[in-house]
Chain length 187, copies 2
């Protein structure tokens, strides 16, 4: 077999191993544990602990990989919201989706709250998210639909905060709390 084939095999194997580690981490998170012990993940994925470190040099890197899909979903929602003809509906839809996705993926909730410490790929997505939100807020500001001083970063942080308020109690208060935030954002 050629060198190329070998490299591809290695990459395929590496991808499989990576998927196994992420699955093991997700299992722990689903069980309510955001601890992500590297040794335990290695054992559950059937690899040496050094392999976990090779793929995910830090706990933050692992978290970001776990949250990547959810973050992409959120970016897509924000882009769509920025294009929504009714800017008020767009803003409401964005906040609702941001809450829903964070509640369904605790890794995203943590990544979204610590986005300043993000690696390259997460930082890229974060920029896309901020750009879409800025577009939406600019439109809303022009229409007089929101406080003039509100930035994309404000909206992200307030959404993270609201998620925290929901999470420390009953999840079915989410809609009421979103309503309170939306009302508070008006000028």
């Amino acid at each position: 077999m050629s060198a190329t084939t070998n490299a591809e095999n290695l990459r395929a194997d590496s991808a499989r191993v990576r998927a196994r580690m992420l699955a093991a981490a997700r299992e722990r998170i689903a069980a309510g544990d955001l601890d992500l012990p590297m040794n335990a993940i290695a054992k559950a994925a059937g690899v040496g602990v050094g392999t976990v470190y090779r793929h995910f040099p830090t706990r933050q890197a692992l978290l970001e990989s776990l949250a990547a899909q959810s973050l992409e979903n959120l970016v897509a929602v924000a882009v769509a919201a920025a294009r929504e003809p009714d800017v008020g509906s767009g803003l409401a839809a964005l906040l609702r989706a941001g809450m829903r996705i964070q509640l369904s993926d605790p890794a995203l909730a943590e990544v979204l709250s610590t986005i300043d410490a993000a690696g390259d790929e997460t930082a890229d997505l974060s920029r896309d998210l901020a750009a879409a939100i800025t577009t939406l807020l600019d439109r809303a500001r022009t229409e007089g639909a929101i406080r003039p001083d509100l930035t994309a970063d404000d909206l992200r942080r307030l959404l993270c905060g609201l998620q925290h308020a929901v999470r420390i109690g009953a999840v079915d208060d989410a809609d009421r709390y979103l309503d309170i935030l939306l009302a508070g954002l008006r000028p």
Copy 2:
């Protein structure tokens, strides 16, 4: 010396040791670390690790002891706010103080967010806090100053959430965010 004197000496010594452990824990928190490793606290306080466990059976118990003073301050503010003639001023003062005290004491921020898991003393203070807030909200509701469905627990959680929103970014956004929440609470 009498048995009473001995008991008093023991108590005085115990209190001194307790204070030393709390001071050691506070030093770590002040250094930005909410980890509170029991072994490290024992070493810093010059006691055996078993003594730390005797005084604080769980990390939660230690956190609550660290936050007790701050929580008492918050309760006092809430009681005063409930008596404030201008109910709007009372509500604003309570939220501002809740934010300020949480920001100055990360242990309180965590205890306030996990108040359901509280021990007896913290639970007592929590009840006092809830009672004072309920009094304030009842008055505000009668005057039509707030949404009718808002409970004391909602206010606590929203305040915890807002603290989180502030903490993950610049602290000087606190006043703007409080303004947004206050606006959102109106009917």
